[in-house]
């Protein structure tokens, strides 16, 4: 039977969610640059950025697959824990402050490139947007997939999120910027913190009560703490709790 820590569904959901959080910003940048500066150079920059990301995933995947599982879970678990905590804290603060609001439109200065050849401004903006936002996706997807021994599922989850957000961005104007990214960030931050805690301690040789079932306990603990902290933050910001 597949353990909870390497369950295909949980790996897919977590990597899909983590990728979606960054993909929202990535697609918003690309759409903003393309609309202002023109599509040819923007798409060229996007394609070059995606190639760099694909190469990073292959290299990281090969490197991590060669590391013994306990060492990998300690290192990756600690990494996912401290990174997950950043999203967890940001998610709590943003959900408390902005509720379910999306990220809003990106505004870029300038006008469409009319001359011959590549518009390097559009190329660079799109390339940097894709690589900077995507590098975090690549690290999370590969490290999560390698620790769960489900690298293929993790890559499929990440790629599916990227494709879904890109399609939504192209087909339905305004939809991507209205996705409640803060809530998504809080949910994924909670999942990354949960798995990070579980794997880091497993890597240290700690025995969890209930084995893999401890993941559900950790998830419940961090979700309840997040709900309580959102309520406290809202009271601090606005002087009332949700529904109050």
């Amino acid at each position: 039977m597949t353990g909870l820590s390497s369950s295909v569904a949980l790996v897919f959901i977590t990597t899909f969610g983590a990728s979606a959080v960054e993909a929202i910003e990535m697609v918003t940048i690309v759409l903003g640059v393309g609309a202002i500066r023109g599509w040819r150079s923007t798409l060229a920059g996007t394609g070059a950025g995606l190639l760099v990301l694909a190469a990073s995933i292959v290299v990281l995947g090969l490197a991590l697959s060669a590391i013994p599982i306990n060492v990998l879970r300690l290192v990756v678990g600690t990494l996912l824990l401290v990174f997950g905590l950043q999203w967890y804290r940001k998610g709590i603060r943003r959900v408390a402050a902005r509720g379910l609001a999306g990220i809003g439109e990106e505004h870029f200065e300038g006008s469409e490139h009319q001359g011959p050849g590549l518009d390097w401004t559009a190329f660079t903006l799109a390339f940097k947007g894709v690589v900077l936002e995507g590098l975090e996706i690549a690290i999370i997807v590969v490290s999560f997939g390698a620790s769960a021994r489900q690298l293929r599922t993790a890559v499929v989850g990440g790629a599916a999120a990227l494709a879904a957000i890109a399609l939504a961005g192209v087909a339905l104007k305004g939809v991507v910027t209205s996705i409640p990214r803060s809530l998504l960030q809080l949910i994924v931050g909670t999942l990354l913190t949960t798995f990070g805690s579980f794997w880091a301690l497993e890597g240290l040789g700690v025995e969890w009560p209930a084995g893999d079932g401890a993941i559900l306990g950790l998830l419940a603990l961090y979700a309840l703490a997040a709900a309580a902290y959102v309520s406290v933050e809202r009271r601090r910001l606005f002087g009332f709790a949700p529904g109050g």
């Binding site: 301690l201 240290l204 969890w208």
Partner: protein, 70 residues
């Protein structure tokens, strides 16, 4: 040479932001919690409970500090 140094600095900045972020005390506290957890395990005591409790507590402290700074 200056270009390479710039790339290396950007690479270091990326990893600092990825691991430490905007509140270094969170990453430091989690690291200390993991070291103490290892010490408890080596001593033969139950160790699984410490890190989750520290995580919940340090997030509360970090949020409170951020709220005071605002």
């Amino acid at each position: 040479m200056r270009r390479v140094a710039g790339w290396l600095a950007a690479f270091a900045r990326f990893w600092y932001g990825f691991i430490v972020g905007d509140d270094w005390t969170v990453a430091a506290t989690v690291t200390v919690a993991l070291v103490v957890t290892l010490a408890l395990r080596v001593a033969g005591w139950p160790a699984w409970w410490l890190t989750p409790l520290v995580v919940v507590a340090v997030v509360g402290v970090s949020l409170r500090r951020a709220g005071v700074r605002r």
